[in-house]
Amino acid sequence: MATMELTKPQKVADAIKPPVTSIGIIGWMRVNLFDGWFNSILSLIVLYLLSMTLPSFIKWAFINSSWFTTSDQCKAGSGACWSVITANIRFITFGFYPHQLQWRPLLAMIILVLLLFFSQNRKHWRKSLAYAWLLGLFSMGLLLKGGLGLEVVDSDNWGGLPLTLLLSVFGLTAAYPIGVMLALGRQSRMPIIKSFSVVYIELIRGVPLISMLFMSSVVFPLFLPEGVTLNKILRAQVAIILFTAAYIAEVVRGGLQGMNKGQYEAAESLGLNYFQAMRLIILPQALKIVIPPSMGILISAFKDTSLVVIIALYDLLKTTQTTLSDPKWMGFSAEAYFFVALVYFVCCYAMSNYSRRLEKELDTGH
């Protein structure tokens, strides 16, 4: 046997080409669905469940559904009543923002989406983009709040999707750098900084977000001097930032600990000081390692912004619930929540997609 194999490979090596596997649908199914008995059984179970549920869902959601009807017509029909969304879309999206001024938050959201879209390409990360953000933030603030000739809208009237986006975009972008600083602080050799970071992180992680929001709206004002009030949205925003930062800090710390000691030594022996070494050598690598878990935290923080309902802010989820409490539209909660879930899903999916892309782009093959 041994002698046979000794002579054989030489000849075969010339002839062998990479095997052509997945040809057409059958090939694709063989590779993706029926690769081994375990996967085949799983696939069959899933296919069976889909065949049970999918047709009736399609019938409900698309075939028998009503899209632009009154609630009475909806109640007569047997399918989904998407009219609950279309008829109330402006309230769901903008809450109590004055009706005739709702173009302003709409424009602000468009600016935000454009900026985010433009920022995802790392090639655009230049000074001009920073200016674009500053200008964008200023105009978004102006549009929402008013001033400079625009009618002023009190922040108590802000709500819906713009509020959700506001809380999450600022919450997440502010929480990240704070989290990184806390992580560095936790590794610091200076005892004061180190213990502050440890205490902060552990305290915050021991408390649910909902209680922090509650404290920010009920307890915190008690400590403010007489006559000083802090905007309710701002307080919720700060609570979200402080909360998320603690979780980011722990993830980043994991990344820092995963760094090879040699990287610190090489940076030091070139004469780089602490801040240069961190900024140029350590953080770029450590943060890259923790892209997936960081994104996990950012996504869950995004979803957690819906907890602001407990301090009576009208974010997207709350405006939807409010619509459902209207007797006319009661009973169509499935459709309404389906819609909200879809909005959240689109945002979260975009985030996780982006993190995957970033990871790939930053891969330098080591």
């Binding site: 990287q263 030091e268 070139l270 240069q276 140029l280 330098t364 080591h366």
Partner: protein, 256 residues
Amino acid sequence: MNPQKAGQQNVDTMPIITIENMHKWYGEFHVLKDVNLTVSKGERIVICGPSGSGKSTLIRCINRLEEHQRGRIVVDGIELTNDLKNIEKIRTEVGMVFQHFNLFPHLTILENLTLGPIWVRKTPKKEAEQIAMYYLEKVRIAEQAKKFPGQLSGGQQQRVAIARSLCMKPNVMLFDEPTSALDPEMVKEVLDVMISLAQEGMTMLVVSHEMGFAKSVAHRVLFMDSGEILEENSPEEFFHHPQHERTKLFLSQILD
């Protein structure tokens, strides 16, 4: 080729490194015991000794990657104390090459080389890149400038690491077992670069067991054992007429 001759003319009597009665402990463990060493400008010293004898610790004390607890270390006229400014100054004068290269994996080869000059020496980017290309040519790897470290072989990476140190125009180069993590066929390309550096008169402290290298470039060979410099001699004397029993034992082991 006789680099030793060429190098010897460069030896100055002015000391560039002076170590006096230096001690170091790791907790209770006495790693370095009363080390005394004077290195002249242009001098090349090879340090050998069994694993764990404190060779790495000794040269890492010279650029303050490790802190000594007693005695004095003076590099280029500056005494190593806790003064951060002095430490950063000395680190720009002293280049260090590690056993595991320690290149920055997220930066290209060129960026690895320009980082120090740009951020520490405040050299303009264009000029830093010219310096970097000059040294990359020198270690014969200029065509890889745009690649990332992960795409290079071990020998190539170590040559890049040497070039990275040279870009800071150091007065002294420290090498901590620069070839011991390499596959055998790559050792020569790295030693060649080090030999040509020696021919130019660089002051070098090299922790290495490469006897051929020691014989051809070193002025002195030091033998360390359990934290002490036990023996110190010219390469010929050291390898052919070792004094101490422990040196003989060690040499017989590495000659196998």
